[in-house]
Each structure stands twice: as structure tokens, then as C-alpha cells.
Amino acid sequence: MTNVADATPVGQAQPPARTSLRGLLAQTEVDLRLFGMLVALAAILLTFNILSGGKFFQPTNMITLAVQASGIAIIATGMVLVIVSRNIDLSVGSLVGVIAMTYALLMTDVMPNVLGMGADFPFRWVIALGLGIVLGALVGGLQGFIIAYIGVPSFIVTLGGLLSIRGAVWYLSNGAAVSGLDPSFQLIGGGAQGSVGGTVTWVLGIIGCAAIIWLLIGNRRQRRRFGFPLRPMWAEVLIGVVGCLTVIGVAAFANANLWPQGLAARVATEQNWGPAPEGGWQIPTGFPFPIILLIGVTLVMTWMATRRRFGRYVFAYGGNPDAAELAGINTRWTILKTYVVMGILCALAAAIASARLNGSTLDVGQSYELYVIAAAVVGGTSFAGGIGTIPGAVLGAFVMQSLAYGLSFMGVNSPGQNVVAGIVLILAVGLDTFNRRRGS
């Protein structure tokens, strides 16, 4: 009956062995899961690079991959919150479809013909994007209301959403594809002209580097002020240097991607740049806008999940719904908000998808829900609730897309891609479950 052993803190008794790699990693307090996923992603890219005889790992290809993953990754950051709070959202693909169609119809039909905003009306793309975001928030909010306040299971509500919203796409467009978006809206989709360019990319890289150092110093100062235990100095420096070099390296890599010669020559003639220099125009594209959007969403969502009450409540509800309720949290309002966030993220992903297509078809966004859930789960989000990270889900989306893109690059057809994607999904989650069980 004596339980004295319980009183001794277990962690203190066994300080991590300094000599082992694992022990050293533990001292840097780096998230081992995320680190493992980065290693896995690197391994996938390396494998394809070897298989393709060194042609795979090039700036152009990596940027294509990243742009292709951006829509799924953006929605996956929201799916983490939904799954963490023990719900699911199956309607994301249909919502992307309906919003993409809305953008297309707004710009080709409603704005010029109903609202009297001709093609030269200023900031049409902002207005369209704003309306799409409002639509996403409303549809998400409606679903969230039915789930949180009426108590219909989220699986059912969003399954209904999946069906009925996809049907609405058909009615919106009368079953036809719509094309011809504003040129400025199309930039959201990326491409050489839809990129921020070399200088801005360098500036962003330097800002990112500075932000990492600033955060590390601020954090250390804060912990010292409160007298908390500090990370060893070597670990701080290591994280700072590795983080900074990574950010600058990624910026340099993006800037190594140049405008296609044909495009550069055409624009040069149009804008009278004069004769092309020796060896042709060398214009770096830098980060495309969808990647900028993804980076922004990832930062904001991570901040919401870890630094705001909303995120704390989502995780608390996922860990123990009763405890959250008893702690006085307005759990229903919290759940509703997760779906509003989802709707907004779907609107952003829909902007990328429709901008890339320069329009919308009936099937835009179809089966996104599967890829998004797969990305979140591969990224370490647990269906049991309460566990998951935003950067993990983004990495998960990149892992899944790097497989699809790499196999496409190698000429493997879609049935083969699907087989691999399915196996990797099960492997990733299986390995994670195994590790957790061993860890606990």
C-alpha cells in the first residue's frame, strides 16, 4: 500500500548520458520527432537524387515540389487543431473547390457584370480573396456550430459537407470549368513572375536568421531572469548557427532558381532592358508567393497553437475534454473556432489552386481531405487527441508530396504512387506508435 516511490521524481534520478548522440540531442531540447522527420525527408530526397543520377535535387525541382505541397500543407496546419481536439474535417476538399470556383466566377463574371468592377478596377484580387476568406469562415463556422453547439459528430457533419458543398460547386458553374483570372491574382500561384525575386528573398533570409537569434537570446534572458535552468551554452550556439545557416541556405537555394530564358527574353523585349548579357539573363526567382504564404501560415498557426489561449484550450480539450470544461474553458466556442480557422485556410489553399490553374474546374480540391489528414498524421498528430504540432504537419505534407513528385519525376504512374503513399502512411504512423509505446 505504500507508494513512497511515487514521490521521487523519476527524471532527476537519470540525467541523460552526455556521451551518446541521443543524450546530446536531448540537451539541445530539440524536438526529436521533428528532427526525425527532417532526416526522413532528407533521405527521400537523397534517394530520388541518386536514382535520377543527380538530376532531382535542383532548385527548380524543389521549388515545384514545395509549391505543389503548399495547399495541402496550409490546410494541414488547421487539421492539426481539429484532430487534436478530437474532431475531423472531411469537407476541406469540397470547401476548397467551392471557394476556388467562387474566385473564378467573381473575377470572370460577378465583378465585371454584376458589381460593375471592370478588369481595370483596382485591387480586384484583394476583394476576391477577401470574399473567399469570408465565405470559408462562414461555411467553416456553420459546420463548427452544428458540431459544437448542436452536438452532431464532426465526422457526420463534415461528411455531409463533403457531399453537399461539392454539389454546390456544380450549381455555381453549371458543370463547366471557368478560366481567366486577373493577372495579379494568378501570381498567388507562383511561377517565375509569381515569386518575390532575389533581393527580397535575401532580405527574408536575413530577417529569418536575425529572428532566430533574437528569439534564442530573449528566451535565455527570460529564463535567467526567472532563475530557470538554462540550456548549455554550446547548445544555444549550435541551434543559432544551424538555424541561421539553414534559413540563409534555403534562401540561397531559392535564388539559384533562375527565370526561364524564354520568359526572360520576352519580358526583356517588352520592358526594353536592352541586349541580353553574355550567357543570357540570370534573374533569380527566389521564393514563390505560395511558399511565402505557407511560411506565413505556419508561423501564425504555430503562434496560435502554442502562444495563445485558443491553442492552449484546443490542446487541453484534446487531452481531457472534461478537464477543459471543468477548468471553465468555453469548449464549444473553442471547437467552433477551429472550424472557422479551417475555412480560412481552405480559402488560402483555394486561392493557390485556382491561381495555378488560372481558373477552376469542378474537381479542384477533390480528395484533399485524404492528403491533408495523411499529412497531419504523418506529421505526428494523434487521432486519440491532444497530440500534434503545426511544423510536423507541414513536414508531413512535404514528405507525402516529395514521394508523389519524386515518383512522377522518375516516371512512375499514379497507381504506383498511390501504393507507395499508402505504405508510407502506415509505416510512418506505425513507427510513431511503436516509439511512443516504447517511450512511455
Binding site: 511515487d6 514521490a7 521524481p9 526567472f226 530557470f228 490542446f315 487541453a316
Partner: protein, 262 residues
């Protein structure tokens, strides 16, 4: 000034709670004074926890009134209760297992920066202070509470109730999961809080605990209060008789008492 003349800290009058056809709490009236510990005892399903859930806002009463400091109040949810400085330590502890100790301690009442972001450093600092008082061995402030021992988790749950200047404290089986050393710690804490003028409802299966700590003892039986007695006026046997037979000592016949011991 005698106890009876003062205004009670809490008074619950004619409280009724039913779950479907089951009448879990019937016409219960109970009061609690500042600096007093009321032991709430009864068999399984007697209605103790349900009655306390009404006071903590976890489950609204179907009918009845609650007065705090003599003023009628409405307690519709845990937020209302907390606003009245009613804090609860649940038997289940009600901790979010995936969140660390400071996160749980401040759950729903987070400290924030001027911009409304979570101020984790302040929360950790405050947690370190209060845990230093409650459980000096506690060091694992950054780990999810899932990885803590039963005693450490209990300490987090107690710290949460104590930190926010509770005036009324509900403790539902606070020592059930603890070893002897920690149990002793909790008992000391209860005495200390009582001296500070906090009113405490103590639900416990351990009749010795109840006798050690309570000023008065209320016995529930099938949803009703059998009686509320001053600890000094009764014996443990008499209270056990009330729990098992559901009658006040004066109504228990010699024969029933004999059967009980037989």
C-alpha cells in the same frame, strides 16, 4: 458570537438533481462557515459527488437555491463557481494529461502578456513558487503531467485550487491515490487552509480522515442528508451507523445497532 448567528459562507437549500429517472440528490440543504471543514460522507452513489458538482458548476441543479455570504447566486458553469472563489479538487483530478504543470495550474486563467499572448515564464515561475510550498520535490515543470506520479499530479490539482485565493474549497477524495507521506502532507495542508479561514467541503471514504479533519459531518444516504452532526458529539460507530442504515443515531434501535455489529 456563536456559529449559528454568523452568516454561512455557503448555503445550499433544497437542492434536487435527477439523471433521467434516478433522483441523485433530493431536497438537500447544507451550509458551510468560514474556517470550517465539513466532512461529507456516505456510501457509493449516496449523492455526495453530485451535490458538490452542483456547487462547482459542473452540473446544474434541477431546483434549489445557493447562497454565498447570504446572497443568492446562480452557478451555471465552472466559470461562475470560480468567479465566486469556489475551487474544486476533483477525484479524477481533471488534468489535461498532455499539458505541463504550469499549463494545467493556470488552465482557463492563463497569465498573458500585454498583447494577450501566453506568458509561460510567469506561469512557470508562479508554479515553481506554489509547488515549492506544496511539494518541494516537484521539479518536472516542462513535462506533460501524464509522465508524473500520482502524488505529483495530485499536487498539481491541489495547487490549482489553492493558488487562486479560494474561499470555498471542495475536495473530492483528495488522498485516495496517495501514499502515507503524501496523505499526511495533504492533511497538514487542509488544517493550514482552515486556519486561513477557508471553508472546506471534504468528501472522503476514509472515516478516520474525516474524523481527524472535520468540524461537522454531513451524512448522505440515497440522495438525502441523513443528518449533520458536530464531530465532537458523535462516535465513529454512530457515524458508520448513519452511513449504513441511513438514520440519525437517535432513531437507530438497539436491535439495528446489534445487527450492524453482529
Amino acid at each position: 458570537m456563536t456559529v449559528a448567528e454568523r452568516t454561512p459562507l455557503v448555503e445550499m437549500r433544497d437542492i434536487n438533481v435527477a439523471f433521467g429517472g434516478v433522483h441523485a440528490v433530493r431536497d438537500v440543504t447544507i451550509d458551510l462557515f468560514a474556517g470550517e471543514v465539513i466532512g461529507l460522507v456516505g456510501g457509493n452513489g449516496a449523492g455526495k459527488s453530485t451535490l458538490m458538482r452542483v456547487l462547482s458548476g459542473a452540473h446544474p441543479a434541477d431546483s434549489g437555491e445557493i447562497h454565498v455570504n447570504g446572497e443568492p447566486v446562480m452557478i451555471r458553469n465552472p466559470r461562475d463557481a470560480k468567479a465566486l472563489n469556489i475551487e474544486t479538487i476533483y477525484q479524477t483530478l481533471a488534468l489535461a494529461d498532455n499539458i505541463d504543470a504550469p499549463g494545467n495550474l493556470f488552465l482557463g486563467r492563463e497569465l498573458t502578456t500585454r498583447l494577450g499572448s501566453l506568458n509561460d515564464s510567469s506561469m512557470e515561475s508562479e508554479t515553481r513558487k506554489i509547488m515549492g510550498r506544496l511539494n518541494p520535490n516537484f521539479t518536472r515543470f516542462a513535462l506533460p503531467v501524464k509522465s508524473l506520479s500520482g502524488g505529483q499530479r495530485q499536487a498539481v490539482a491541489i495547487a490549482r485550487a489553492v493558488y487562486f485565493n479560494a474561499r470555498i474549497l471542495i475536495m473530492d477524495e483528495p488522498t485516495a491515490a496517495l501514499g502515507p507521506a503524501e496523505t499526511a502532507q495533504v492533511r497538514n495542508l487542509i488544517r493550514q487552509l482552515k486556519d486561513e479561514g477557508i471553508g472546506i467541503f471534504l468528501i472522503s471514504h476514509d472515516i478516520h480522515d474525516v474524523f481527524d479533519l472535520s468540524d461537522r459531518i454531513s451524512v448522505m444516504y440515497h440522495g438525502r442528508i441523513v443528518g449533520t452532526v458536530k464531530k465532537d458529539d458523535v462516535t465513529i460507530d454512530e457515524v458508520l451507523g448513519m452511513i449504513i442504515l441511513g438514520k440519525p443515531p437517535t432513531e437507530v434501535t438497539r436491535q439495528e445497532l446489534a445487527q450492524l455489529h453482529g
